[in-house]
């Protein structure tokens, strides 16, 4: 297939599945509390994760097209590690949210509710391992993207800090992580398009 067509298909797959993920997440946040227990509620709960399947499929297809065997190997290893860590995180998070809230206040409740941070560290570890396996050039690209995301997050954090002084509400620290990851994803997509 023509190279440009391959890239177009890849980008459509990635962006389409990300849009689907955002839509499923928004539906879940809006409807979760208003719905009675049942199969429909469970389906809405699982839908954001299901939307990640076409994303993963698009990435796997793209990796399979790589002609260099070594590159293909390290990317598949990364995808396997990342998926396993993410799945473990989802399982631990679900268990902690089910078990934690009804428990009496104390150190045990805190430990149960904080437990998802352990599989989360595995996700970070998967990224670190992948950066070590990469060649010099790709590592530099990765570093540049993370540094740019860092700059954008720092700018957002400072701006929102001033907005708090003007009366805006205090947000959860989870938002910092979301902004950083979204900035990283946008930078990666823009650079991919620009490098074609």
């Amino acid at each position: 297939m023509h190279e440009r067509k391959i890239w177009d298909r890849y980008l459509v797959g990635i962006l389409g599945s990300l849009c689907l993920f955002t839509l499923a997440l928004a539906t879940f946040i809006k409807m979760d509390r208003h719905m009675p227990e049942g199969i429909v509620r469970t389906m809405i709960l699982v839908s954001p994760l299901a939307a990640l399947v076409p994303f993963l499929w698009a990435v796997v297809r793209q990796v399979r097209r790589d002609e260099v065997m070594h590159q293909r190997k390290i990317w598949f290893r990364y995808l396997a590690e990342m998926s396993a860590a993410f799945l473990l995180y989802a399982v631990v998070l679900t268990i902690s949210l089910e078990v934690g809230p009804p428990m009496p206040k104390g150190i045990l409740k805190t430990l149960v509710l904080v437990s998802p941070t352990l599989p989360f560290l595995l996700i970070v570890w998967a990224v670190v391992r992948q950066s070590r396996r990469m060649d010099e050039y790709l590592r530099l690209i990765l570093l540049e993207s993370i540094a740019m995301a860092f700059g954008i997050t720092a700018g957002w954090v400072v701006t929102y800090g001033f907005m708090e002084n003007a009366g805006y509400p205090r947000l959860s620290m989870f938002n910092v992580w979301m902004v950083m990851m979204s900035a990283w994803a946008v930078i990666a997509i823009v650079r991919t398009i620009a490098s074609r």
């Binding site: 998802p116 860092f150 910092v176």
Partner: protein
């Protein structure tokens, strides 16, 4: 310009912009209490963003003036700072669900600065 001169210039510029930032920040905090709600008050509250942008320009100038090696070291420092800050904020978000208070976004910048400085010091000690 040689490496030492660039570093001296950078430290001077950064210190100057940092002092200006604190000056504007404390002045705006003092002024806004005496002001009524409105566009002028919002402008005063947002005014520290100008010296902050000046700090960004100083760092960006330094980044483009140094050689390839130092640029890579700076990138590594920023990358690791982003990762550590991301992990710390993510872990704290779970503590929030247990009852810890929501902190102001202004607390993130000192965390980022401290992590970056610590990484710089550790790198210097390890590089000896």
């Amino acid at each position: 310009m040689n490496k030492d001169k660039i570093t001296v210039h950078y430290r001077g510029e950064l210190l100057g912009s940092l002092l200006l930032f604190f000056l504007v920040q404390f002045s705006s905090m003092g002024l806004e209490r005496a002001m009524r709600e409105g566009f002028e008050r919002t402008l005063v509250l947002f005014s520290p963003i100008v010296p902050f942008l000046l700090m960004v320009v100083v760092v960006a100038r330094y980044f483009w003036r140094v050689d390839e090696y130092l640029r890579l070291k700076i990138l590594e420092n920023w990358g690791m700072t982003a990762a550590i800050t991301g992990v710390l904020t993510f872990i704290y978000s779970y503590f929030e669900s247990v009852g810890f208070p929501r902190l102001s976004m202004c607390t993130i910048m000192p965390v980022m600065g401290t992590v970056s400085a610590l990484l710089f010091v550790v790198g210097r000690i390890a590089g000896r």
